[in-house]
Structure formats: structure tokens, C-alpha cells
């Protein structure tokens, strides 16, 4: 509970700028309609078939955890899993038989009855998209042997939404780009990225705003390109964005050091003394602190603590921590206390 997934530990290639790499595969059982046309009974059958397959293939042992979101859990649990990036908003807000399986490290998760029957997801720390895809291959094969995925030679893996058909694969990389935001250069990155058919999203994926200077970049195209090509296209742009952010950081240290240091120290100061703080302000200030640590300007704060605070200060996490529901104002007070405890002098 007071921990986050292993992918947030601040390790991995380019981890000062690339937070994580994620790959997800959308899959459907050939024998059933997609969920929009499935009856309540079919939905339950699909749920059971997948759970059986997970059990049979030994995928629910060894510290794996299955959360049945259709029955046992409440809104707070869904929100909590969402904040940890283990489930999507669609699954959190869904209805009927559905759930999620994840392993102890939280690097692998299987969403059941989301928009598609199955969404397999792997997250890795830092820039490791290809490795994340490799993490999914075995489980994809095992489940296919057990369940038989819907596939056509022409259109590939068949998905409820035609924007996912083909490979059914969405690969994304989450960046922390505070210097590009600070210097208002970020627009250039977006313009370049969208030109090559990649999408830009916020911290919590589709439709969310960018907060804490986090941005996810992912492939849009799933048909007509192989898995390897999709990963390679994304992989080509990552070092360019990383280099751009680094260049601007160096420039800031060189030419605008006072303004930069002031921003970073004020952020840390506020976090260390605030008595009530909103989630948005926390994200913004933590972003500056993260930059400060990565630039070596703040030496008494460790990066792992900062990375985890982005997740652990989210509303559902605070409520799980306090073991009760909190009003928004109470949350802000609890959040400030928690941060002071973690970042205190």
C-alpha cells in the first residue's frame, strides 16, 4: 500500500526523463460477441472462461492477484487501481462482470472485459518498449491456446473499435519534460510527434490533461504495420525527445540558472511546509523537485521517493492509507501531512 509498482522505482534506461514504457494488446475471444453486443450472461461467461484460462495456465499463482471489479470491490478500489496505472478508466467506470489480474511487481496486468474481452499490459521502468512487448508474448500465446482469439488474415486481431484492429497493440512511453514546458518548447515536440502519426496524452492516458509535466506518446496506427515496426517507430523518436529535453536543461543551467533554482527550491519549500495542498499543486511542485533532483541541485531528496509521491498522493491512495473516505478538504490536509512526512527536513 505505501509502495508503488516496481516500474516507478526510478530505474531503467534514460530514467531521468523517461518514466516508463508500456505495451498493451487488445484481444477478443472468437467464440463470443464483443462486449457492446454481449448479454449479461455472455459477459459473465466470458469473464469465467478467462478466469479459468488464467488459473489453468498457472497465471493466477505466485503472488498474482485477481480483483473482481464486478462484485467485491467498490469505487474506491477501482480508483486506487486506476491511480496505479493497473487499470484503465473504461474498466474502472465499467459495469458487470469484469476484473483485473496483476503480478506482485505490478509490471504485468490483464484487464478482463474492458472495451475488449482482454487487455494485456506490461509496464517497465525507463525506456524499454521492446522489453515490455517481450514480457507480453508468453502470456498472449498461453491465453490464445486456451481461449482462441478472434483473428482474420486480412484485418488481424479483431477488436471492438476499428482503431485498434490489426496488431491490437498500443505502445506508449511516458516522459517527464519539465524543461521543455518551462521554456515553452513543448509545442514543437507535439507538432513533430503528431506529424508522424503518434499521439500525445496526459499522465492518465486518453482524454486526460497533462499534469506534472508528464506526457505519454503512443502509436496511433495498428493496422498495416507489424509489431516490430510499431515499436521501432516509437523507439526512434524517444532518444530525440530525450536529447531535446536534456539540451534545454543544460541551457537553463547555463543561462537561466537563478530562475530555475528559485522555482525548484520554492517547490520543495512549499511541499515541506504546506498544511493543505491540492492534487494538482502537488503534481506541479513535485515535477520541479524531480527536475531539481535529476539536475543534482537537490541532494537530500531521493528520486524514488519523489516518483512514488506522484502516485501515493492521489485521492484514492490517501483514502486507502487513512482507511476511510475523506472529504476533498480533508484529503488536502492529509496529503500535506503525508508529503511533509516523506520530504521533511
Amino acid at each position: 500500500m505505501g509502495q508503488s509498482g516496481e516500474w516507478l522505482r526510478g530505474s531503467g534506461p534514460e530514467s531521468d526523463i523517461v518514466i516508463s514504457s508500456r505495451v498493451r494488446l487488445a484481444r477478443n475471444l472468437a467464440k463470443f460477441p464483443f462486449l457492446t453486443r454481449a448479454s449479461e450472461e455472455q459477459r459473465a461467461e466470458i469473464h469465467d472462461a478467462i478466469r479459468n484460462a488464467l488459473d489453468k495456465r498457472g497465471l493466477s499463482e505466485n503472488g498474482h492477484c485477481y480483483v473482481d471489479l464486478g462484485s467485491e470491490s467498490n469505487e474506491l478500489t477501482s480508483r486506487f487501481l486506476l491511480e496505479r496505472h493497473l487499470i484503465s478508466r473504461e474498466l474502472a467506470n465499467g459495469e458487470g462482470g469484469r476484473g483485473v489480474l496483476f503480478n506482485r511487481s505490478e509490471m504485468l496486468s490483464v484487464m478482463v472485459n474492458e472495451e475488449d474481452h482482454l487487455r494485456l499490459q506490461a509496464i517497465r521502468a525507463g525506456f524499454q518498449v521492446e522489453e515490455a512487448y517481450e514480457d507480453l508474448r508468453a502470456i498472449d500465446e498461453r491465453l490464445d491456446r486456451e481461449l482462441g482469439f478472434a483473428f482474420s488474415a486480412d484485418f488481424g486481431y479483431l477488436t471492438a473499435c476499428p482503431t485498434n484492429v490489426g496488431t491490437g497493440m498500443r505502445a506508449s512511453v511516458m516522459f517527464h519534460l519539465p524543461a521543455l514546458v518551462f521554456t515553452k518548447q513543448i509545442d514543437k515536440v507535439f507538432a513533430g510527434v503528431t506529424k508522424i502519426n503518434l499521439a500525445v496524452r496526459g499522465f492518465y492516458g486518453e482524454g486526460t490533461q497533462a499534469s506534472g509535466d508528464f506526457f505519454q506518446i503512443s502509436n496511433q496506427i495498428t493496422l498495416g504495420l507489424g509489431e516490430v515496426d510499431i515499436l521501432a517507430a516509437l523507439g526512434r523518436i524517444v532518444p530525440k525527445i530525450v536529447a531535446y529535453e536534456r539540451e534545454v536543461r543544460t541551457h537553463l543551467l547555463d543561462k537561466d540558472r537563478l530562475r530555475l533554482e528559485d522555482k525548484i527550491w520554492r517547490a520543495l519549500g512549499t511541499l515541506r511546509v504546506a498544511r493543505s495542498i491540492s492534487s494538482e499543486e502537488t503534481m506541479d511542485l513535485l515535477s520541479s523537485v524531480r527536475l531539481g533532483v535529476n539536475l543534482g541541485l537537490l541532494s537530500d531528496v531521493d528520486i524514488e521517493t519523489v516518483n512514488e509521491l506522484f502516485i501515493l498522493t492521489q485521492p484514492a491512495h490517501l483514502q486507502k492509507l487513512e482507511k476511510r473516505e475523506l472529504e476533498p478538504l480533508e484529503r488536502d490536509v492529509t496529503r500535506a501531512e503525508y508529503i511533509r512526512d516523506k520530504l521533511g527536513l
Binding site: 453486443r37 486480412d154 473499435c161 482503431t163 499521439a199 500525445v200 496506427i221 493496422l223
Partner: protein, 175 residues
């Protein structure tokens, strides 16, 4: 007061986008707060995709070739257009005449080139057997042994079904 923001549906829309692509004009009206908050200025094409959920209107010619509903799940093309989601694997075959151009627009391609599910990938053995049968078939046809050729064709068909290899473009619906 002008139009409401298409995103928050609360404030007055002050930013107006017009995109003309392939001769089709699309407009988007949003408020300043939403534009800033969601970095919409840059994500306009992606956002459009979100708003225009469904597919295109079928031309009169295409409409003729479309079934009134998918034989697999009963979804109509109008349902798909309204929700932007298909109903079952068979929908891809049923609505192929309008779906294929839509896929081409979205993905720039109409054909899958990535991996296949393992349950459909023929084993080395099956592939070998398949090749032998095909060769025998060609030989039989050349030798005008039509009865033998018909038998071989049946065997090939059985093997295809067994390994899930497809001849045409039908969506596989069996395991």
C-alpha cells in the same frame, strides 16, 4: 451567447477549429480553458477522432452491398456509426465494403501484416503436409485424374480448417 464548448459543455466556445481534409470540412468549437487544459491546440486531429466516433456515411452504391444487420450479432451499420464500436468478429466481414475504406483512412492501410495468434499458425509438419498435397493436386490435374484431384482438394480443405489457415478473407470465428 454563442455555441457551448463541445468539450466541457459549460463555457462559451471561443476557439474555433476548421480542418479541411480530403475535401471534407470538420469544425470544432471549444472554450479557452479546455483548449489550454487539454493541450487541444496540438492534439486537434486526435481529438477529432474522439468526437467523430463513428464511420463515414456509406455511398448509395456501398449501401446496396451492406447487409441490413451483421449476421453474427445483429448490429446495424447505423448502430456502429452511433457508437463507434463493432459487435462481433463477423462484423468485420459483414461491413467490409465500408469498413475497409474507413480503416484505410485511420491506419493508412487495409491489411494486417503483424503476428498471427499461435492457435492459427500451422506447425512445421502441417505446412509440409500442405505443400505435398498441393504438389500432388497439381500433378493430378495435369494428368487429368479429376477424381483424385477432387479427393486431394477435400484433404487440403480439411487440413486448412484444422490449422485455421484461411483461403479467403473471412473472419475466423472458430478456434
Amino acid at each position: 451567447m454563442g455555441n457551448l464548448c463541445q468539450s466541457c459543455e459549460k463555457n462559451e466556445a471561443k476557439i474555433h477549429f476548421t480542418e479541411i481534409k480530403d475535401g471534407e470540412k470538420t469544425e470544432l468549437h471549444i472554450c479557452e480553458a479546455c483548449a489550454h487544459e487539454k493541450n487541444m491546440l496540438l492534439a486537434f486531429p486526435a481529438l477529432l477522432g474522439h468526437i467523430m466516433k463513428g464511420g463515414p456515411d456509406p455511398s448509395a452504391k456501398e449501401a446496396d452491398t451492406l447487409p441490413s444487420a451483421c449476421p453474427g450479432c445483429g448490429l446495424t451499420y447505423a448502430d456502429f456509426k452511433a457508437k463507434g464500436r463493432l459487435g462481433c468478429p463477423a462484423c468485420y466481414t459483414a461491413f467490409a465494403p465500408v469498413l475497409t475504406p474507413l480503416l484505410e483512412k485511420v491506419h493508412g492501410s487495409r491489411r494486417h501484416v503483424g503476428n498471427s495468434p499461435v492457435h492459427l499458425v500451422p506447425t512445421e509438419e502441417a505446412r509440409h503436409e500442405f505443400e505435398e498435397l498441393e504438389q500432388a493436386l497439381t500433378a493430378a490435374v495435369e494428368a487429368e485424374e479429376y477424381e483424385r484431384a477432387a479427393e486431394l482438394r477435400d484433404e487440403i480443405r480439411v487440413l486448412r480448417e484444422k490449422t485455421g489457415q484461411e483461403e479467403g478473407s473471412e473472419a475466423t470465428s472458430e478456434t
